[in-house]
């Protein structure tokens, strides 16, 4: 499976077909999700209409973590098998994950104002998501700082794998430290404790977010590959031109 995609042509073929499909799925799912969130679900008996922020917030928080897991997974694959596509995927996933993290933070704090009467609270879950944002930023900063592409790839992979600790912290922070924030109620060992009328829009939105992320990842992977190929041909042309020049007896 891995070696199958080490052929750039083959990956390009897959990506070319996947991108429009993912794009359409994203639009459909998000449209359905938004409709369900606003009209297809009742206001909460405690939280009233503000509960609708949940349908934006929870999937964003879930994507922030899922994308980090994907980043770490891709890094692991690159670290062990040196698969260039895995490194490209890691590089591409990081900024997307950071954006979802910011979205989770912003929607969470928008929600916090009506619910807890404050935009921000130094509560374990919220703080650990902020720290997750720092992990993303650190990863991107490290890659940006290393000029050598090979070094950037390897060092980035090492860091991404170490950063997995933070996922554990985000996940369990609410249980470890008594906290204002909701404990998990959807993803639990003993099954969801949330009402079905809320579960449905949530699930559709979550799926929509996932498709959006996948679409973005594939799109950027492909454009990255195209840019690289263009650069390569340009370089070859340049080299050929120089060779022609030097045989005329100009420089060397």
């Amino acid at each position: 499976m891995l070696s199958y995609f080490s052929n750039p042509q083959r990956f390009d073929g897959l990506a070319r077909r996947a991108i429009p499909v993912l794009g359409v799925l994203t639009v459909l799912l998000l449209a359905a999700g938004v409709w369900l969130s606003f009209f297809g679900s009742p206001p909460d008996y405690q939280q009233g209409e503000t509960v609708r922020i949940m349908y934006v917030h929870v999937p964003a928080a879930y994507m922030a973590m899922a994308l980090y897991a994907a980043l770490a997974g891709a890094s692991f694959v690159f670290f062990v098998w040196r698969h260039a596509l895995a490194d490209a995927a890691a590089e591409v996933i990081a900024p997307i994950g950071a954006v979802f993290t910011v979205l989770a933070l912003v929607t969470g704090s928008l929600w916090g104002k009506p619910m807890w009467g404050t935009w921000w609270e130094w509560d374990a879950r919220m703080t650990s998501v902020l720290v997750l944002l720092l992990v993303y930023l650190g990863y991107m900063a490290l890659r940006a700082a290393l000029e050598d592409a090979q070094q950037a790839a390897r060092a980035g992979a090492v860091l991404a794998m170490a950063g997995v600790i933070n996922l554990v912290i985000v996940k369990f922070s609410v249980e470890w430290w008594s906290s204002l924030h909701q404990p998990a109620s959807v993803i639990r060992f003993d099954g969801p404790t949330i009402h079905a009328s809320q579960l449905w829009p949530l699930a559709v939105m979550a799926l929509g977010y996932t498709m959006l992320a996948a679409w973005l990842v594939f799109y950027r992977l492909r454009s990255r590959a195209l840019i690289q190929r263009a650069r390569q041909t340009e370089r070859r042309k340049l080299q050929a031109a120089r060779q022609a020049q030097s045989t005329e007896g100009g420089l060397t």
Partner: protein, 222 residues
């Protein structure tokens, strides 16, 4: 004069190309104000009271963090020798260089401080005052860090040395800048006076430190 501008522009460019420009200090500042509450605990009264001071302190530290490279790199790669032989004179060059790097990297700090103030539960007006005070403090902080950086250039573990030299010099700036934020918080009319004093310190630093920095550089050429 175009020499000044070109040095300023080059240093700003170097700060961008190698270190990601303002991303580094901004992220460091963000990390510092994120971690502090984890250590101090979430009690809102304590956080709101300590907020402006912590933010001022974190700004000082993020200036210090970049101080080591300010002259240390130039020392290691031989650029300092070349700067000493420029036609424009060392003090002016050092002024342009230090401000160029500092401003290119530190401009987001006031904005982050504003957000941070709000996150710590500091009222809006006081947070604004704090952001303004930081803005006024940055030139002074950067130049003092540059002075220490030049003195310690190329010394092992110069980061620590720089902190030791620069921190005491920065105390007055820190007191006035954090004071502006605090008096803003306490609803006190001294806030504006503190802000004014911070700006005055920055102007003083622009007038005086270039000579100090130039002397420090010369002392390191031997």
């Amino acid at each position: 004069m175009s020499g000044l501008a070109s040095v300023f522009a080059r240093e700003a460019r170097l700060a961008w190309s190698g270190g990601g420009g303002p991303a580094g200090p901004a992220a460091f500042f963000l990390a510092a104000i994120t971690l502090a509450p984890l250590a101090i605990g979430p009690a809102p009264e304590v956080l709101a009271a300590a907020g402006p001071g912590l933010m001022g302190f974190a700004a000082l530290l993020s200036v210090l963090q970049s101080a080591e490279r300010l002259y240390g790199d130039d020392f290691a790669d031989g650029t300092l020798d070349l700067y000493a032989l420029t036609p424009m004179g060392l003090p002016l060059l050092c002024l342009a260089k230090t401000l160029g790097q500092g401003l290119a990297t530190l401009w987001p700090l006031p904005a982050i401080a504003l957000a941070g103030g709000l996150m710590y539960g500091v009222p809006v007006q006081a947070s604004l005052m704090l952001a303004a005070a930081l803005l006024a403090a940055i030139p002074a902080l950067v130049l003092l860090a540059g002075f220490a950086g030049a003195l310690a250039a190329g010394v092992r573990r110069s980061g620590l040395l720089i902190a030791l030299i620069a921190a005491p010099l920065m105390v007055p700036v820190l007191i006035f800048a954090a004071g502006a934020g605090r008096s803003g918080f306490e609803g006190d009319e001294r806030a504006l006076a503190n802000l004014g004093l911070t700006a005055a310190l920055s102007l003083g630093a622009i007038a005086l430190t270039p000579f100090g920095i130039a002397a420090a550089v010369r002392s390191r050429l031997g």
